[in-house]
C-alpha cells in the first residue's frame, strides 16, 4: 500500500511516497534528507501534532499559554484542546510548571509557557 504526503520538516516540502505492508513502513522515497524519512515513518503510522493553547487559572481573568512536551496523536488533537478548557488550576502558575502529567492518556505532559501571577506586573523589568 502506498501513501503520499508533503514533508513539513523544512522549506523544501518534498513530496514523499511511503510504502506500507501489514501496517509497517517498508520504504520511504522522495525525501532529500534523513529528517524527511523520520517524519514520513511517523506520519504514515501515527501522525502526531504538538498541541498549544490557553488555559485559565482559577479566579484569573487573563489566560496563560501551554504546550505539550511531545506531539499528541493527531486524531486526539481537538479532544485534547477541549480538555484544556476543563481544567482551571490554582494560581500562581509559573512559566515551566507541569499543568497536567498525562493529557487524556496520550503520555504527553502539558507545560505552562507563561506566568499567571497575582494581578500586578508580571515579568516587567524596571
Amino acid at each position: 500500500m502506498e501513501q503520499c504526503m508533503l514533508c513539513i520538516g523544512c522549506p523544501l516540502g518534498c513530496r514523499l511516497t511511503v510504502s506500507l505492508e501489514s501496517g509497517e513502513v517498508i520504504q520511504v522515497s522522495g525525501n532529500a534528507c534523513k529528517r524527511g524519512e523520520t517524519y514520513a515513518k511517523q506520519e504514515a503510522i501515527q501522525p502526531r501534532r504538538m498541541l498549544m493553547g490557553n488555559m485559565r487559572a482559577a479566579g484569573c481573568s487573563r489566560p496563560f499559554s501551554v504546550i505539550t512536551d511531545k506531539p499528541v496523536p493527531k486524531e486526539m488533537l481537538l479532544l485534547c484542546a477541549a480538555e484544556l478548557k476543563r481544567h482551571a488550576p490554582q494560581p500562581p502558575i509559573h512559566f515551566g510548571d507541569v499543568i497536567m502529567q498525562d493529557i487524556l492518556k496520550t503520555g504527553c505532559r502539558v507545560i505552562a509557557t507563561q506566568d499567571c501571577l497575582p494581578p500586578r506586573k508580571q515579568n516587567e523589568l524596571r
Binding site: N54, R56, P63, L78, L79, A81, A82, K85
Partner: protein
C-alpha cells in the same frame, strides 16, 4: 426611562441638532436631545469633506446661499470659543478648458451676488503665484479665500458638550417612533419611553421627512444621496494647502454636485472625494467598488493638474489609509427646510441640511433659536456659561504643557494610541466628559485613537479594556458602535471545540 416633561425636544444629534441644542442652551429651557444611534454625530455630519464652503456656488436667493455665507463668517469665533480645529485655507477651482473658464466666470458673478467676500477669477500666472506648480493644462481658476476646513465631528462634540454643561440632556439609543399633538405641545414616543414637550425641533437628517410627516400635513421627501471619500496618509500634508476642486459639474438628474476635490483635513490627513449617488436605504453607508474606483480614476487622470504632482509625481495609491461614505439628506425642495411648520405650531424643522449644511448649520441654529425665543418670550438663563470646559489633547500640547499635565495626572504618561499620540488620560476624559464615549468608535471620534496608520490594530485592545473598566461592563460587552457590534464577544472556553 424618561416619562417626563421638557420644554423642547430636539430630534437628532448631528450638526443641526448639536447647533440648535447649543443655541437653546442660552435660554431658560429644559431641553432634551434624542439621538437614535449609540453616539452623537453618526450621520452625514461625520462623513463629509469637512469643508466650510464660501458660498460661491450656492443658488442666488436660496436659503442655502443665505445661511452658507452667514455661517462661513461665524467659523473663526465659533471654533475659537469651542476649541475646535479650523483652518481658513481657501479653495481653488481649477480650469482646464473653455467650458471650465466660462463656468468660473459665472461662479464669480454668483459669488458676488451672494455676498461672498474676496472671490477672484485668476489667470494662470496669478494662480501659480498663489499656490504654485499647477499642471501645464491648467489655464486659470477661481479662488475663494473664505473657504476653510474644520473637524466636523469635533465641532458636533464640542457643541453638544457645551450644551450639556449648560443643562441640555442627551439621550442616546433613543429613536423617535411617533409624534402626537397633545394640548399646547406634543407627546414624543421613543423606543425607551414617552415624553411631553412644548416644542419639537426636527434635526433628524435623512429621517427628517419621516419625522415631519408624522405631524405636519405639509409633507416633504428626503432622498439619501451617498458620497464616498478616500483618506490619504498624513505624509502628504505638506503638499496640500488650499482645498482644490475641479470645476463643478451638473448632475444628469438636475442640480449639481460640488465634484471631486482634494482637501487637507485639519488633522493632517488628506481627504479625496466625493462622488454622488442616490440610494434607497437610509442606513446604507457602505462604500462600493464603483465609488472607490471612480475616485481613484479621477485622481489618477487629474493628478498632473494639481500642485502636489511636483512633489509626488503620480497618484500614491499605496498611501490610501481608509475609505468612508456618508448620506446627504437631499430634500425634494432642493433647498433647506427651516422654520415652524405652518400646520403644527411649536414644531420646527431644520431639515434637508445637505451641503453646504455643515457651514450653514451654526447660522441657521442661531437665527432659528433666537427667533423662537423671541416669539415665545423665553428669557436668557443667568446660569449660562459661555466658555466650554475643555482640556487640550496631549497630542496638541507644547512640551511645557505636557510636563505640567503629567505632573498632575500620571495617566498622561501612558500612550494608548501611538499613531495619533493619544494617552490614557485623553481616553478617560472622552469616557467621562458630558455626553461621554460609550463605545470604541465614540472614543475614536473624541480622541483620534484608531484613526492613524494602523487603524486601531494596536490600540483597540487597550481602548476596549478601558471602556470595560470605566463603564463597569465585561470586556465581551464592549461594542464598536452599539448593541450587536461587540468587539470580543466570546470568552475562551465559552463554546465547545467541535
Amino acid at each position: 426611562m424618561i416619562v417626563d416633561m421638557y420644554d423642547a425636544v430636539i430630534i437628532g444629534a448631528g450638526i443641526s441638532g448639536a447647533a440648535i441644542a447649543n443655541a437653546l442652551a442660552r435660554y431658560q429651557l429644559r431641553v432634551a436631545v434624542f439621538e437614535k444611534a449609540s453616539d452623537i454625530c453618526g450621520g452625514a455630519s461625520r462623513s463629509n469633506s469637512a469643508t466650510v464652503h464660501s458660498g460661491h456656488d450656492a443658488t442666488y436667493g436660496s436659503l442655502k446661499a443665505h445661511y452658507n455665507v452667514l455661517g462661513n463668517a461665524m467659523y473663526d469665533k465659533l471654533c475659537d470659543d469651542l476649541s475646535v480645529p479650523f483652518s481658513r485655507n481657501g479653495m481653488i477651482l481649477f480650469a482646464t478648458s473653455e467650458a471650465d473658464k466660462n463656468e468660473i466666470v459665472r461662479l464669480k458673478q454668483n459669488a458676488d451676488q451672494n455676498g461672498v467676500p474676496g472671490v477672484q477669477v485668476l489667470n494662470r500666472a496669478s494662480l501659480l503665484a498663489l499656490e504654485g506648480s499647477f499642471g501645464e493644462e491648467v489655464i486659470g481658476g477661481l479662488y475663494a479665500p473664505s473657504s476653510g476646513q474644520v473637524c466636523p465631528y469635533s465641532l458636533v462634540i464640542a457643541l453638544c458638550e457645551h450644551a450639556a454643561e449648560n443643562g441640555v440632556s442627551f439621550f442616546l439609543n433613543t429613536a423617535v417612533l411617533r409624534l402626537e399633538k397633545q394640548g399646547e405641545g406634543y407627546l414624543v414616543h421613543t423606543a425607551r419611553g414617552s415624553v411631553q414637550t412644548r416644542f419639537v425641533f426636527n434635526c433628524a437628517g435623512v429621517y427628517a421627512d419621516e419625522i415631519n410627516n408624522m405631524i405636519s400635513g405639509n409633507h416633504f421627501h428626503i432622498t439619501p444621496r451617498k458620497g464616498e471619500h478616500l483618506i490619504l496618509d498624513k505624509k502628504l500634508a505638506p503638499y496640500v494647502k488650499a482645498t482644490i476642486s475641479q470645476t463643478p459639474l451638473d448632475l444628469p438628474s438636475g442640480g449639481h454636485t460640488k465634484g471631486m476635490g482634494i482637501m487637507p483635513s485639519v488633522d493632517g490627513t488628506i481627504i479625496l472625494g466625493c462622488n454622488s449617488c442616490d440610494v434607497v436605504d437610509k442606513e446604507d453607508t457602505a462604500t462600493s467598488e464603483e465609488g472607490i474606483s471612480q475616485i481613484i480614476r479621477f485622481f489618477e487622470e487629474n493628478w498632473r493638474h494639481l500642485p502636489i504632482h511636483s512633489a509626488v509625481p503620480s497618484f500614491p495609491r499605496h498611501l490610501i489609509i481608509s475609505a468612508f461614505a456618508g448620506l446627504r439628506p437631499h430634500p425634494d425642495t432642493d433647498d433647506f427646510i427651516i422654520g415652524e411648520a405652518a400646520d403644527a405650531p411649536g414644531f420646527y424643522n431644520m431639515a434637508g441640511i445637505e451641503s453646504p449644511g455643515l457651514t450653514a448649520a451654526p447660522a441657521i441654529a442661531q437665527e432659528l433659536a433666537n427667533a423662537f425665543a423671541q416669539q415665545h418670550h423665553i428669557p436668557v438663563s443667568e446660569a449660562y456659561c459661555p466658555t466650554r470646559t475643555y482640556k487640550k489633547a496631549f497630542r496638541n500640547m507644547t512640551a511645557e504643557e505636557r510636563e505640567q499635565a503629567l505632573a498632575s495626572d500620571p495617566n498622561y504618561g501612558h500612550i494608548v494610541c501611538r499613531c495619533e499620540q493619544v494617552t490614557r488620560a485623553d481616553v478617560l476624559q472622552a469616557i467621562h466628559s458630558p455626553v461621554g464615549a460609550r463605545t470604541v468608535n465614540a472614543v475614536k471620534m473624541r480622541t483620534r485613537a484608531g484613526m492613524g496608520r494602523c487603524q486601531g490594530g494596536f490600540c483597540c485592545p487597550e481602548v476596549v479594556e478601558l471602556l470595560s473598566k470605566e463603564l463597569g461592563i465585561p470586556m465581551s460587552e464592549v461594542t464598536l458602535n452599539g448593541a450587536g457590534s461587540e468587539v470580543i464577544p466570546y470568552e475562551i472556553g465559552s463554546f465547545e471545540t467541535v
